[in-house]
Symmetry: C2
Subunit: 576 residues, 2 copies
């Protein structure tokens, strides 16, 4: 029987609630956004007692469906001031699904100056005072909890950044190798910190496999779906070999690789930080070049990046992080970038926001461009210690820009703009501008069609078709984010005819439903409109669906492209 | 012949322009807001090349009208993100008026890394590279310019805070005693800094008295007006004797004196920081207890506060600053507060924003409550040096609150809430919430009627009548802010029948017009609506016309009052 836990941190109560009928069809992002929109006052202080932090596995999480092991976290974001959903791999989603947990809603805020942890078992959730692991980094928390509770324990934790309430703080999830994955964007770690919860541990003893209404139908669909993953050149070959970092050379070639804090579109040392170089390095050193973030992942876009002596440096080493530190911050040494990635994971800040904010910090003159060791020092000596400078940085790109008066601050709705220049890849600019999440490439990944020729081709340098492309992808993504699937199922779904029907068949087989493709589109639209209504009530207007002004008057080489959409053209996005 | 100077800092050109017909009826705030609304893109970056900084003397400035020597400065505010007008006394307004300068519009932004000064004479404006006075404090700039250009030179300058582009940076104006007054609120000093202008010097050699169309009518009206100033108990007795600081004991008695970062409404040591104590101290030490901020001031609410040895500490020592450091920050020593006031003037930050932000900094644990010497240290060692902590502080109350995750951060539209608790003086809460300027007591000073029984009485603890009170005062204030008059003319204007007609007669006599009271009301409404339209286009909504959430759930002693207006009740304000 599915259940909802409601944890009140003001009075330290836990309620077990049945799933209301209107929430039953939802999972993942659809569920977190529905709950946040229903229960959180849009104008509340994101770090105050009236915000709520919601966790929800996806609709297919816990089943044998490939790629379905992601957990959604939702709240009002202290970074953007709007609604936020951020999903992550790791082990917790599948554990919670098997335990019958549809969602956990954490509300209220301790008035007293004490910290707590939550422990989840089949008997319920206990709230316990926490003193031992405060200010420990995320790796240390996972290690300590495994030592205490056993290797199988699930962990959701914040690092020091979350304890310091930094708006770039993430929530880390233990992965299958006892490292961490992240609910990265939007500062949900600060929301968890504001509730004074250092970590959530999960003991799933006594859980059972999720029930599937029609096991045979499910198995057939799952096989078709998995085959599509493996057959598509991006999800079956590019990503498993080079990871997401396959994109460095591709974006550099396209002139869309933002370099030196978004002043250039190509990076002279792209070869040193490319996916190809990363692959060769990992193979030569005996690391793992493919690796899954959760059980059941067959794309295996992750990797374990090791040092020259073979020792572990980092995993989940993504294109966006490598682009940000490598091109945007001009750091040429991949090892230095990997170490910074590990340090960001440890202190618990979003490695996209982190990469972008260091670029602005370099422009502000805090450290020179290219100074990898300087980034390490800022992470360990400033952010991890909560110094004034560390707090400026830990509060994200916008914080650094405002504090130092930097006009070239790449943010939308105060969230750092990721790894694709919107002047030369215009579709992604529409996504950055209009996403309910702030600048977020994953919410409508037009790179697929603008650059990778997936789902057809829309010329990245022209305005034509970009709004429609972004709209369709944002609608589809909102639905996919509800399933527990990773974003990369989009590649085969856009190109291989039987993929999307198989995904819908799996949902139908799991729940005994008869959803069609139209229902999935309707779900995506409902989610976007629910999120937009929250943002509107929080005070957002069309004026917030805009890129930073500098993109409109600073052309970027090599195409000398500027951001040239009119307000009316952008606002057309919401006409659906 | 009235003229407008347009100074372009991108290409270093100065244009002399005739006054367009539609701008002719305007002065002061009415003119700066009209120009900013007409020429500044509302969504532009406030520190970028598309913002403009406008200076305009009031409609009566330069005449013999009492209280009419104020200069308005306007721009898009880097603090609030909305339109901003801030007016100040000093000598520049009357100099510019006598020179026939209706407005100066400073636009563009140097691309090169150089600083400049502007020098204004009857021959025009020159743009000159500046190297000598960079990073000098405002007092040092005035001294250096008087040494170089003579005692009569007018000065508008920024301090180091403006050079660091801090959002709490003010623009200082030389006063008749070669000290400074401030365009305090909204970070206009950062806008001047973003144009890379360190100071503007004025040599009015060759200027002539402003022309008055009907000198006899003017003289008669001016006499009636001046008598009203002197006859009213607040402007004629309270303010000249105790300065604005007369309010400490009055607000403490009313339970509306925000104390310890807005957690209490009364301050135990109010006697130590009151206007009465200040008066006794100044008199005992041989300072000046009354003093005008510009030639022609007959209220003389300013003073010269001196040390025990008789040496100068500060002037223009206002209630809001003393409240902020004394009650909100719990500093008990008036000398320490006076020194901090001087240091804020020197570094060039708004002493209201400064006082409020130190309260939040104390709540964040940066220094303890009551630590006056700590405030001095933060001003001289951090803000004046542009350290990371100094920049966090110098960017204002909201910056400190966001950077340290402090929920109890008293701001509206990111501008610090001044010296009157909106829970126990509810009218001023409506002004804070709805003002186009962000939290700003001067934009609709309901304290007059809520606390001082001026213009009738509206019970400060009840909701009834507050919206109407604030609306009427905001409309009237917008009009008064266009005349070059100081805000304190409102006291006699509200209580003495012949005062307001005399003010209107002066305008009519100056320009040969036949304005009525209705025209003045229409002017006030036009200004507010023009400003609101700018803010709406910049992305503001009703959700921004709200007080911080904590006022709604934290009752304040002694009345245990909370902020209990509904959204609809607040939004009623704009129905005119």
């Amino acid at each position: 029987m599915d259940k909802i836990y409601r944890v009140n941190m003001t009075d330290k109560t836990v309620k077990l609630e049945a799933v209301p009928a209107e929430w039953a069809p939802h999972g993942g992002r659809g569920l977190t956004s529905t709950i946040v929109a229903a229960e959180v006052p849009p104008t509340c202080d994101a770090l105050g007692p009236n915000n709520k932090l919601v966790f929800a596995p996806g609709l297919l999480t816990g089943t044998a469906a490939a790629q379905s092991g992601r957990l959604s976290a939702g709240a009002k974001s202290p970074l953007t001031g709007g609604i936020k959903e951020s999903n992550a791999g790791g082990t917790a989603a599948q554990q919670l699904a098997r335990m019958g947990v549809k969602a956990i809603i954490i509300e209220g805020q301790p008035k007293e100056d004490k910290w707590y942890n939550l422990h989840i078992t089949m008997n319920g959730i206990t709230i316990n005072e926490e003193t031992e692991l405060l200010m420990k980094d995320t790796f240390e928390v996972v290690e300590a909890l495994e030592a205490k509770l056993g290797k199988k324990t699930g962990v959701l934790t914040i690092g020091p950044a979350g304890e310091f309430l930094m708006a770039a703080a993430n929530i880390s999830v233990k992965d299958p190798d006892s490292k961490v994955r992240s609910h990265g964007r939007g500062g949900l770690g600060a929301v968890m910190g504001s509730k004074k919860i250092k970590f959530i541990s999960i003991d799933e003893t006594g859980s059972s496999p999720v029930k599937v209404a029609d096991p045979e139908k499910f198995k057939t669909a799952a096989r078709v779906f998995a085959k599509a993953m493996l057959d598509h050149p991006v999800s079956g070959q590019g990503l498993p070999t080079y990871g997401t970092n396959v994109l460095v050379n591709i974006l550099n070639e396209a002139g869309g690789l933002p370099t030196r804090n978004f002043t250039q579109g190509q990076c002279a040392h792209h070869d040193k930080i490319s996916g190809e170089t990363m692959y060769d390095t990992i193979v030569a050193r005996g690391g793992k070049h493919k690796h899954g973030c959760h059980a059941g992942c067959i794309i295996q876009c992750s990797q374990e990046y090791v040092a020259a002596d073979g020792s572990y440096i980092t995993s989940g080493f993504e294109y966006e992080t490598i682009w940000g530190l490598g091109a945007d911050c001009m750091i040429e040494c991949l090892d230095d970038i990997a170490i910074a990635d590990n340090l960001m994971d440890r202190v618990g800040i979003d490695s996209i926001e982190g990469a972008v904010l260091f670029g602005v910090a370099m422009e502000a003159g805090i450290i020179p461009f290219g100074d990898g060791k300087g980034v390490h020092r800022l992470l360990t000596e400033e952010i991890a210690k909560g110094t004034p400078l560390g707090r400026v940085l830990g509060n994200g790109t916008g914080s650094v820009g405002r504090t130092y008066g930097v006009v070239r601050t790449p943010v939308v709705k105060n969230q750092g703009i990721p790894a694709y220049d919107p002047r030369s890849v215009k579709g992604i600019g529409i996504t950055y501008a209009t996403s309910t999440m702030g600048a977020d490439h994953t919410s409508g990944y037009t790179i697929a069609t603008n650059i990778l020729n997936v789902g057809g081709y829309v010329d990245p340098l022209k305005k034509d078709g970009q709004v429609e492309l972004s709209r369709n992808l944002q609608i589809a993504t909102a639905a996919v984010d509800s399933t527990g699937m990773c974003i990369f199922v989009a590649f085969p779904a856009l190109d291989i005819a039987e993929c999307l029907p198989a995904l819908i068949d799996m949902i139908n087989a799991r729940y005994g439903l008869n959803l069609t493709g139209d229902d999935v589109v309707a779900l995506g639209k409902y989610i976007l409109k629910t999120e937009k209504a929250f943002n509107d009530a929080a005070g957002f207007t069309a004026a917030h669906d805009r890129l930073p002004e500098f993109f409109t008057y600073e052309p970027v080489a090599p195409h000398n492209a500027i951001w040239d959409f009119s307000d009316a053209e952008i606002d057309e996005f919401w006409n659906f």
